[in-house]
Amino acid sequence: MAEQGPSFLAHKSGDAVAVAVRDIKPGNAVVGYLDETPSVDVEVRADVPLGHKVALTDTASGADVIEYGVRTAIATADIVKGDYVHTHNVRSARWQNSVA
């Protein structure tokens, strides 16, 4: 069977990031939600490997990043919708020494 369904999954409505369920190339992709939120499209701007995250919203450097409906990180650079999100542009909000 061919691969089906969304390319990314997000946990909750309002989350700023979604997780790739396969290796994703730049271009248009569908984001599904684990809650009842309807799927959305995102224009992916970089390669996002399986299990890694894409930005669903713009986030300014220093602002909170929301996932699972809670703050899971702080942006360390300006993040644009469609960007690849990982340790190069987010950091722990709680452990100040936890930096790349």
């Binding site: 369904g5 990180a73 452990w95």
Partner: protein, 386 residues
């Protein structure tokens, strides 16, 4: 509704139910490992449990080692125990602790005898225990009598999307049936610890949880170290997890929705059914060993990047939602739920498959880790020995 599977287990003298029937050869200390392994090699079918510590420990650290060793010997998956220690005093303390369960246990110390005499004498005892244990029969048991535990390892973002969600599904059903489930990994609640505190049944449990959590974080922060690469681990980061908070939220998913009825010290046995938190390291072997010492008889272990841990006493069921890990490390995985991500399979459907495997494991099916000989037995050390 599907008919419930008939569960079977070994009902021990104190009423606790085991899923395995080991005769354990338990060293009190590192010096006694050679004798313990010698006994197990003379009496194949017994289980030696070598470990690295047990000398010159003191205070809370010593108490934890005693509680861990007594707890492992007392685990209902163990039918009988031979304890070997370098000297008689601490050896007897472990024997007396295990004897409270009513199971057969004897201790022998090495000083004044030497390894060879000890091995011969202990092997004769172990042989008798093994033959006795071989006649013990499985009996019908109920979910309410089975103490499960859960820990995840080498997590990635797929655990929060898949394997932890079906672990939660099972956990909720188990607690609803009057069973017991323990979760832990204190530092790995960071960012969502308030969600755990909110679910504690009363202020006593809540304040005990908060004390454990605050104490652990103080200990970590006092080092001033950069934790990126340690917590989250390099494997977590390779799998896409960026921060401790993101990792914690996946970890918390697997605890389900039941109220938290207890906050346990490391290796402390729960005294009532339901969902319990235990104050543990997030390192797999340390955590699963502490949970086995509390009496856990099967551990549910969601993994993303492919942690291979097993435990000698408590079978560890591996669950992965990562399609690459499911394919590349199939020999280590008991449940592949990657189609929850790739094909939208429901929590209920994948969760029922997990329940099926866990119940077959309770009934005697060997886990992948058991079949590959994974027996990681690791004592949690709180500080340096004297």
């Amino acid at each position: 509704m599907a008919e419930q599977r008939r569960l079977t287990g070994f009902r021990r003298q104190n009423g606790a139910v085991g899923t395995r029937n080991h005769v354990a050869i338990l060293p009190v200390d590192d010096l006694s490992n050679a004798a313990a392994e010698g006994i197990a090699s003379l009496v194949p079918g017994t289980l030696a449990l070598p470990h690295a510590f047990g000398r010159l420990q003191f205070g809370e650290d010593l108490e934890l080692t005693f509680r861990t060793l007594i707890g492992i010997g007392s685990n209902p998956n163990v039918a009988a125990v031979v304890v070997i220690g370098i000297e008689p005093n601490w050896t007897n303390r472990i024997v007396e602790g295990i004897a409270k369960t009513g199971k057969p246990v004897e201790g022998i110390s090495i000083e004044g005898r030497g390894d060879l005499k000890v091995v011969e004498q202990a092997a004769r005892i172990a042989q008798g225990y093994l033959q006795e244990a071989s006649e013990l029969q499985r009996e019908p048991v109920d979910r309410s009598e089975i103490m499960l535990t859960t820990k995840d390892g080498e997590s990635d973002t797929t655990t929060g999307l898949g394997s932890c969600r079906i672990t939660a599904y099972l956990s909720d059903k188990w607690v609803e049936a009057g069973g017991t489930m323990i979760f832990g990994e204190t530092s790995e609640l960071t960012g969502g610890e308030h969600l755990i505190a909110e679910r504690c049944v009363d202020d006593t449990v809540r304040s005990r949880f908060q004390e454990f959590y605050d104490g652990y974080i103080e200990m970590i922060e006092a080092t001033g170290a950069n934790l990126l690469g340690s917590q989250p681990t390099q494997g977590n980061i390779a799998g896409g997890l960026s921060t401790i908070e993101e990792k914690a939220m996946g970890n918390i998913v697997k605890t389900g929705t039941a109220p938290i009825v207890g906050a346990l010290a490391p290796a402390e046995a729960p005294t009532r059914a339901g969902l319990h938190f235990m104050d543990t390291s997030s390192a797999a072997a340390e955590c699963v060993t502490l949970m086995a010492a509390a009496g856990g008889v099967v551990n549910l272990f969601p993994t993303g990047q492919g942690n291979v841990i097993g435990n000698p006493v408590q079978p560890v069921v591996k669950i992965t939602a990562n399609p690459k890990t499911a394919a590349s490390m199939a020999d280590h995985m008991d449940v592949d739920c990657s189609d929850m991500l790739t094909r939208g399979r429901s929590v209920e459907e994948a969760g029922d498959e997990l329940i099926d495997i866990v119940e077959r494991t309770i009934n005697g099916r060997l886990t992948a880790a058991e079949s590959l000989g994974h027996r990681e037995f690791t004592i949690t050390k709180l500080y340096r020995s004297a």
